[in-house]
Subunit: 171 residues, 2 copies
Amino acid sequence: MAANSAQFPQANDKYVASFGDKGSLALPPARQLIVVTCMDARLDPAAHLGLKEGDAHVIRNAGGAVADALRSIVISQRLLGTREIAIFKHTGCGMLTFTTQQLRDKVVAEQPGDAEVASQVSQIHFHEFPELEGAVKSDVAWLKANPLVLKETTISGWIYEVETGKIRQVV
Amino acid sequence: MAANSAQFPQANDKYVASFGDKGSLALPPARQLIVVTCMDARLDPAAHLGLKEGDAHVIRNAGGAVADALRSIVISQRLLGTREIAIFKHTGCGMLTFTTQQLRDKVVAEQPGDAEVASQVSQIHFHEFPELEGAVKSDVAWLKANPLVLKETTISGWIYEVETGKIRQVV
């Protein structure tokens, strides 16, 4: 089967054709904003939040976990001047469906007898969560309490609904 | 100053108005694909790669660092069936401009005498890189050698040019 990424160049040609003057955009985000959200395939944060190229740092990982985003947040705030963080989680997230122990067990069962795999996966916390709204509040509180996050940061927490495309602010 | 995120609902209303039937998209990515790329504000990966909602997991962090993406990659592969990873880095990346030690020193200098800050920042490796093409190759090699990444994974490495909007495959 051909690599799926083989389709990138053709799609990219269209983007390049309408690139305009975006080549002159500055490195620091114009809106001094970081968006943290999930890697979920159904999410297009630029589209559903109205972000244009140059506006905001967008950090995405499984679940939109802020603990996993801290390295990037420090770089964004200290070197590139962002002062606001908006955290999104979403309905129907895969992170609501398993526990770290279950996923560790699954990985070990798929590569039985591999001591390196067992050792490495035992060191990963997968940052799943049992409930959506609580997870948003908990991530906002975690950032507010973190000494590496600048005190003057405006922090908000949101939920995106995959069923409707709508967002709503939680905190 | 009003929070910048206060502008989200108005932009979101437009997205919702043309949401169509996207509410029925499945959780697993249709193209069985993960894209790893930088958080840089100038990048809109959905636009410049032609990704539609539902197509691919998109992981973004400072520099598109794969080591920082491993937790998300394991979840994506083991629970949601992805079998291809495309790694992007880009020209003009902030990660080319500093070292971990320099950023640690800067953070400590900004919060002098704070032992908690000094301790926490000393534990973060910022995954900067001195040269672009080498960093792409190195990240591809890291994934290929990692025992937690499935052996049958198709892995490619790319560079996005912020000056032109163009992509090119490195490996």
